[in-house]
């Protein structure tokens, strides 16, 4: 049942991601939302609370701690991979390289790739992978952490399905989504990282998001 929900939600996200291309003005905000009514200057005001990415803490390819706070003030793109992945990861990161090349000199943008095989993908393994991919500096981080934390944040917060399965190629099943998070840590888009057309849309959407006026930053 939960799986169906996740798949359904991913489908809605994906559909929305395709649709958002037609509206250049603003990207949709995904996730649950709830209205809150409060008193401001004696007047009743209704505000909307959006679903945001909760606190997390991982380690990047340089051995530095990366938390939700490190990403404050940044738009970021998230994906899930593992370095020995024989199936979709090479094509995902070939496409992600294009995103990296486009935005590597922008101050307010990051890419974070979580390994879903932290047992094999230690910090030095991730560093080597990043070096070979040609990644330098602090725009694209490859994150390692506790397996439960990675799997939980993938499924519950970024809504990307991942699963260990010895019958799958490389030992894991995972979806190749690139998830776009805004400066308020809300999901603004989800794209098939194996499809160059959707990745082009992601690049366009990041530009739209960068042009969006800064609102209250959720800490």
């Amino acid at each position: 049942m939960r799986n169906i929900l996740i798949i359904g939600f991913a489908a809605i996200l994906l559909w929305g991601a395709c649709k958002s291309g037609s509206d250049k003005k603003a990207l949709p905000i995904y996730g649950n939302r709830k209205p809150v009514t409060k008193m401001v200057d004696g007047k009743q005001v209704t505000d909307t609370i959006y679903q945001t990415i909760p606190p997390f803490k991982f380690v990047n390819q340089y051995g530095d701690s990366i938390s939700n706070k490190t990403l404050n003030g940044n738009i970021y793109v998230v994906d899930f991979f593992f370095t020995t992945c024989p199936s979709i990861c090479p094509i995902m990161h070939r496409n992600m390289l294009k995103v990296y090349e486009t935005f590597k000199n922008t101050g307010d943008f990051k890419i974070i790739s979580h390994t879903i095989d932290p047992k094999h993908d230690s910090v030095p393994v991730l560093k080597k992978y990043a070096d070979k991919l040609g990644i330098t500096g602090n725009t694209w981080w490859f994150l390692q952490g506790k397996k439960e934390d990675i799997y939980t944040i993938a499924e519950k917060n970024y809504l990307v399905a991942v699963k260990q399965d010895s019958s799958a190629a490389g030992g894991y099943i995972h979806a190749g989504y690139f998830v776009l998070i805004d400066k308020q840590k809300r999901i603004r888009g989800s794209y098939d990282g194996t499809d160059p057309k959707q990745v082009d849309q992601l690049i366009a959407d990041i530009k739209t998001l960068q042009a969006e006026p800064d609102q209250m930053i959720v800490q």
């Binding site: 020995t84 024989p86 199936s87 979709i88 090479p90 094509i91 990161h93 070939r94 390289l97 992978y129 070096d131 070979k132 991919l133 040609g134 190629a169």
Partner: protein, 139 residues
Amino acid sequence: MSWKLAGSLIVFVAILFITACQSDENLEFKRYYSSGALVYQQHCQNCHGTNGEGLSALIPLLSDSTFLRKNVSSLPCYVKNGLKGQITIKGKTFEDAMPANDLSPLEIAQVLTYIGNSFGNKLSTIDEQSVQKNLVGCR
């Protein structure tokens, strides 16, 4: 005679010439090549890319004709059993493992013919018999 008729006659004669020139060998090459393109899409393209461009220093490109020519008898083994250890492609060193592929000798011949004649490479047809012969010698 109208121009239209003359035109179609010229086209017809040209087609006759082209088909007449196609030897059996050429036909065999075309069959291998077009089937090989499909095998490539299904088994190789994710890693090596649509244009055989590879991925940075992680996955080698497939346009090093010299490497392909020099290792032509080992290529079926690489495809079938995967590849471990260091190799040098166009002056760059690669050391990550390539996974094995469960392909028949015919499919291996097809995909090698495709790779050997794409991305700027120009090798001759690699046929099923030669693949079968070379697979025996795999280490």
